[in-house]
Symmetry: C2
DNA sequence: GTCTATAGAGAGATAGAC
DNA sequence: GTCTATCTCTCTATAGAC
């Protein structure tokens, strides 16, 4: 069995992304992690907010690494992005629409209420945008266009996650994937 | 002053979309609405869940009416859609990133936890998709393509809302707007 | 119907034995 | 460091006076 600290962190990440930050109790986290309640405050003296911050950061880093792994295997960037959308849809189905974006639910809740957590979420999104912008430039998209395209792709993915979970269907992910590829194609081979 | 029932409903809608469903207490709702606590259970015997359901439905209908109003004034559909994204960005700035989508925050929280509220959110999204699909068909997009395009546009909008609120910038909305118009353009004048 | 008071459960957080 | 017991606060919900 994984060490206590790790069990708590993994369980918190799972519950936060599924039920939200306010909707998840620390008692529920420690119980499900089979850890004593006091351990949570031993490892995170800052309480729920400090735990939330670490969940956001590690979840964001994990998702970025997942993208990197897919991008490294794909023959080109459009394929990589298409594969990432496809994989996201497959994960949704495999988990019965429980696991989507690791930070989206929390980010939506805290944007106007918990400034430290909003800042942590913003840091995660910026890390994704930086990586994606780099890859877009590497694929031949001129520098000033890279960030807007990256923003549109991430927005499409996040919106698709929300729609898929709510409609309990991967149709939105397929549609967002197709739109993302259309945008990429238009950018890589501009109309005359 | 508006009647008690209406004050509670409006206040609940405001707090739910900003702080989320779990993050908003009914005490806070009635206090801010300057209504007695008991009135809430008088008008919504089903408690928080019944109130949440009505907030989702009325918020969704309001947003649809807003789209309709903008679409009716615009000379064509791409202009209407561009204007809607622009207006969304302006509202974000005007409210200091407090007011974005009326249902997104709640929809994300409840998708895996409160089935009646998930269903209500799904109903709202479907009503938007139906209206938008109709307009897309009216603009000349063939029937089987209308729904995927509508899904991609709504996903782009929702994702942009989340990114704008988290990054405290309208840059994602501008990027999503441009991508939406690219997708529309590609669909209306397909490449050879 | 309007409003107050409170029940009962559960939250986050802490103290202190071991 | 691990774990239990408990404190205080807030939550949803209800009872009942007016």
């Amino acid at each position: 069995m994984a060490p206590t600290r790790e069990r708590i962190l993994i369980t918190a990440a799972e519950l936060f992304r599924r039920q939200g930050y306010a909707g998840t109790g620390l008692k529920q986290v420690t119980t499900q992690a089979e850890a004593p309640f006091g351990s949570l405050y031993h490892f995170w003296p800052g309480g729920k907010e400090q735990l939330g911050e670490e969940v956001i950061r590690t979840g964001g880093a994990f998702f970025l690494a997942l993208y990197r792994a897919i991008a490294d295997e794909a023959p080109d960037l459009p394929t990589a992005i298409g594969d990432f959308f496809t994989g996201a849809g497959e994960t949704l189905v495999a988990t019965d629409y429980l696991d989507a974006c690791p930070i989206a639910t929390v980010a939506g809740e805290v944007a106007s209420t918990h400034e430290p957590l909003r800042a942590a979420s913003a840091g995660v999104f910026e890390s994704w945008l930086a990586a994606l912008s780099d890859d877009l430039e590497g694929a031949g998209i001129p520098e000033p266009r890279a960030r807007p395209i990256a923003l549109a792709l991430v927005a499409g993915l996040e919106g698709a996650f929300l729609l898929c979970r709510t409609l309990r269907s991967t149709e939105p992910m397929d549609a967002a994937r197709a739109a993302a590829l259309t945008v990429l194609h238009a950018e890589l081979e501009p109309a005359p």
